[in-house]
């Protein structure tokens, strides 16, 4: 049934009074059906200027070649791969939220999955641009595909993790896109049926003729569940394979078996931080406080503590194993990370990724919106440094001291990185303007059982254990969107 009574001690997933199905539609579609606000225009202008910088810097790279970057013979991978891994990592939260949390029946995912999936797709687009850009001759990208050619055919080397990565990233991108778009169909149909004129025509094409009949919904749910089932190992495989780009080499600091789980945890960590960065602003600007509640924010912060702690343990394990292995190159790589010329990058990484998420153990900070927002940015800075440390400090001093060198970026690669953030935000801002940023159909499912008003009715009904009622009321205190005065008399 659509409405079974949920246990009272669970926090509500939708707050606010007199929320109806129509109200959900109105609230979610407000930014889509109305002219953009001033805040949106300001954000969009800044983001598009960033995107423009990206176009300039990438064009410059293609015109003059990779020599425009600060790479040298020793450090042949730096900001490009750092940026790539950073973006792929950020692109993990969306599928994690939509797939893994679906399998675990975590209903709080329903109001954040749409925007997180969109974020995934845009982050993977940014990552993909790095792959193409770092080739220097982007038209050569086609040689990564196993296509018949005039040389034999000489096939690609499928033993190489870089080729696995081509398959992993392209599969991840396209499957995420399909998952996202299939989930969007019912909501696009909602926009279509409320719109008139050109807008109706456009959304009619985009809605694929969705009707919401029983059979359609039944198949839709089957498809969602199976896509979640196959996306779960997929999302884990993607960053595993990215980590193998490093781990299967013989470079000190890279050649470790801990890399796959360590990278996956780091990816989820940074992905959730980015979701937090975006949603804390979006819920305010789009007025979605009743759907993306303090419970959602706190739950994501808990995942940030968990994954941040896994990353912290991984850092310490790497250090321990470097010592325990007795390999002097490995030992030097780690001593050099912490005390060498790049010590500042290492300690930025350590403080941002290991120390800062531990602050979330304090409930007051975990449920503070400004604090969560700042910390989510700190985490993403830390995760960028993590990739920089792994890549640059391992490469700049490896086996032959005569080849040791430092790496200094040029304005071109700095601009590509800043520009890619611009590209990301441009795409995200366009998304919240033209598509519903919350999965309306899925949020409507929660209205009768898990909303604050439904629980209030149960409380008012009086058949609740007093301790449980007390526990529930106390859990509501952290919400910024709940009117506590109403509960005094119940």
């Amino acid at each position: 049934m659509a409405s079974h009574s949920e246990s009272i001690i669970r926090e509500p997933l939708i707050t606010g009074e007199n929320i109806t199905y129509a109200q959900i539609t109105n609230d979610v579609l407000r930014p889509v059906e109305n002219k953009p606000t001033k805040a949106w225009w300001i954000g969009f202008t800044i983001a598009s200027l960033g995107a423009l910088l990206w176009v300039v810097a990438v064009s410059y790279t293609f015109w003059f070649g990779i020599g425009a970057w600060g790479l040298n013979k020793t450090v042949g991978w730096a900001w490009d791969i750092t940026g790539f891994v950073w973006w792929v990592g950020i692109g993990h939260a969306g599928t994690l939220i939509s797939a893994v949390l679906l399998l675990f029946r975590q209903n709080w995912r329903n109001s954040i999955n749409r925007s997180a999936e969109a974020m995934t797709i845009f982050a993977v687009i940014c990552a993909a641009t790095y792959i193409v850009a770092h080739m220097g001759r982007p038209w050569m990208a086609v040689y990564s595909l196993p296509l018949p050619n005039q040389y034999g055919s000489l096939w690609v080397n499928f033993n190489s993790p870089l080729i696995w990565d081509v398959f992993a990233i392209s599969t991840y991108f396209s499957v995420s896109l399909v998952f996202w778009y299939t989930g969007l169909l019912p909501d696009i149909a909602t926009i279509r049926d409320r719109a008139t004129g050109t807008m109706q025509k456009i959304y009619s094409v985009l809605s694929f003729g969705w009707t919401g009949s029983v059979k359609t919904w039944q198949r839709f749910e089957t498809v969602s569940l199976i896509l979640a089932g196959i996306s779960t190992p997929l999302v884990l495989s993607v960053h595993t394979i990215v980590s193998m780009d490093f781990a299967t080499s013989l470079e000190p600091g890279w050649h470790t078996t801990i890399f796959p789980p360590y990278f996956v945890a780091g990816a989820i960590f940074s992905g959730f931080a980015m979701v937090q960065t975006l949603l804390l602003v979006a819920r305010k600007v789009l007025g979605l406080e009743n759907y993306i509640t303090m419970f959602h924010i706190e739950s994501m912060n808990k995942i940030i503590i968990l994954t941040g702690s896994i990353v912290g343990v991984a850092y310490l394990t790497e250090f321990f194993i470097a010592w325990y292995s007795g390999v002097e190159y490995e030992q030097y790589a780690f001593i050099n990370r912490a005390t060498g010329p790049y010590w500042w990058a290492y300690w930025s990484m350590m403080s941002c990724n290991v120390i800062s998420p531990q602050l979330f153990w304090v409930k007051k900070w975990r449920t503070s919106i400004p604090f969560s927002w700042v910390l989510s940015i700190v985490v993403n800075i830390g995760m960028w440094f993590e990739r920089f440390v792994i890549i640059v400090t391992s490469l700049h001093r490896d086996y032959i001291p005569s080849s040791w060198a430092m790496f200094y970026p040029t304005w071109v690669e700095v601009s590509i990185f800043i520009g890619s953030i611009g590209v990301f935000f441009t795409l995200f801002l366009l998304f919240i303007r033209v598509l519903p940023s919350v999965a309306m159909a899925e949020v409507k499912l929660l209205l009768k059982g898990s909303s604050e008003q439904a629980k209030k009715k149960v409380l008012a009904g009086g058949h609740v254990e007093p301790e449980q009622a007390q526990f529930y009321k106390e859990s509501l205190e952290k919400f910024d969107s709940v009117e506590m005065a109403d509960y005094a008399k119940i």
Binding site: R194, S213, V214, V223, L445
Partner: protein, 178 residues
Amino acid sequence: MSSTKFILGLFDDPDYMMDGIHKLQQNSVPIYDVYSPMPIHGIEAKLGIKDSRLGYAAFMFGCTGGTVAFSMLYYMLVYDWPNNIGGKPHFAIPDFVPITFEWTVLFTAFGMVATFFYATHLFPGRTPRVMDLRATDDRFIIAIDAKGNTPHEDITKILKEAGAVEIKHNDRKYVSYE
């Protein structure tokens, strides 16, 4: 003979709508279809709709993807042009695992979603066959083919008793063609 083609019972609550289905079934009124803005759990059993077989399709697509990928790798690396890479075996199965896995997932996802779209007649630009525009917003709609033998007033009465907020006697099947 009335010109009514379809009778729609519009509900604002899925539970009342389920009650409506129950009452209609008790009175042997055949239900044409039900439209809702969100999936209603348990409705398939109530309406006697068979389980979706998309899972089997997905499994077959997955098997196809895995087989295609593994065969492709075998053909290219072992049969067509075996490369001597440090004397290591050409048929290095562990190296085949990642891409075989990726293509299993890729084929499953695309094959299943394509089957879903094909079976449900969803494609870009298809004219939406919508009976009431609020079915995708906040109305749960039971559609009854008016050609049946039950008098229309009786159907109206049953729907009203179940708690329908509005009952429509439509002369056209779909409103969205206008």
